[in-house]
């Protein structure tokens, strides 16, 4: 299994993401600078990490989503390559149109940085196969712009198609219908505000996030 982690100016969870993927797959991901225009051949998982790309100028994720590498990420996603966007990565994926909706300023204005309870809404996706539907897990969040917004028709469609992967089980940021993570239509792109890569080792105090990477890698190995 070959993977890549995209690095923008201002990314700060890229190395944590690389460690989490390496722990699950045994293979070190390629770190891909945002000016690259091609995804290396054979890459079947791309991670768009958290951070503050371009200092969150204009809107969180707005500048990064127009970086050269994102055109290549979009083309790869269209081919079925798995794409995982976490936190700022989720913002980049919505800004680039790979996922619907937008992530707005938290309803309470505050930057929220703590463990939050999530409910697994869909355990059938490639990203959530190691969880049980309805299971409650704990994953840390750290964001200022995590308030998920989409119009009612889009929200209905996401729910109707089982594309809500995770919901907040508590009040966090004002997200529509408590949405914490969503899938694209093909099920190969997941964007989520909570940081699974920060909950992968006992030293992190919590390993609920490791199951996301383990399940994803297991499924990809099985279908390879």
């Amino acid at each position: 299994m070959k993977s890549a982690v995209i690095v923008f100016p201002g990314s700060n969870c890229d190395r944590d993401m690389a460690v989490a993927i390496e722990q699950a797959s045994g293979v070190k991901p390629v770190m891909l600078w945002h000016r690259e225009t091609e995804i290396p051949a054979g890459v079947d998982l791309i991670a768009v990490p958290g951070g503050f790309s371009y200092g969150d100028y204009l809107r969180s994720g707005a500048m990064a989503s127009r970086s050269p590498v994102m055109a290549a990420v979009k083309a790869a996603a269209d081919r079925g390559v798995m794409v995982l966007g976490v936190c700022n990565g989720f913002q980049v994926l919505t800004e680039s149109g790979l996922l619907p909706g937008a992530l707005m300023r938290n309803a309470g204005i505050h930057f929220v940085c703590r463990d939050v309870a999530l409910t697994v809404d869909n355990s059938q996706s490639a990203f959530t196969s190691r969880y049980q539907a309805g299971e409650q897990i704990s994953i840390p969040v750290a964001h200022h712009d995590g308030n998920y917004f989409a119009d009612a028709a889009t929200l209905d469609r996401l729910e109707g198609e089982g594309r809500v992967a995770f919901r907040y089980a508590e009040s966090v940021n004002g997200s529509a219908r408590n949405i914490a993570g969503i899938l694209n239509e093909g099920g190969n792109v997941l964007g989520m505000m909570p940081h699974p890569e920060r909950a992968c080792e006992s030293a992190h105090g919590n390993t609920d996030g490791a199951r996301l990477f383990a399940g994803l890698v297991e499924g990809m190995m099985a279908s390879a």
């Binding site: 204009l58 919505t94 800004e95 937008a102 300023r105 938290n106 204005i109 308030n147 004002g174």
Partner: protein, 77 residues
């Protein structure tokens, strides 16, 4: 040639920053403020002859996120 682009949140989209400003104004004793909506203004210094269509495309492709925002272009001669 200069143009100003005003980016504002669509009606119905919650504006936490506007709410915070509203509360701060009330805290300063300003009564009678019914609502506050915050937006941003972006000033563009453009080559003469830049077409309206190009300015519009700049707004639609980058300056505004049309999922949540509206934009208005004001050309300044």
């Amino acid at each position: 040639m200069k143009a100003r682009v005003f980016v504002t949140l669509k009606n119905g989209v919650l504006d936490p920053q506007g709410k915070a400003i509203h509360h701060a104004l009330e805290g300063l004793g300003f009564g009678g403020v019914n609502d506050v909506r915050a937006g941003k203004m972006i000033e563009l210094d453009l080559a003469d002859g830049t077409s309206d269509a190009d300015i519009d495309a700049m707004c639609a492709k980058l300056l505004a996120n049309t999922v949540i925002e509206n934009y208005r272009i004001e050309k300044l001669g």
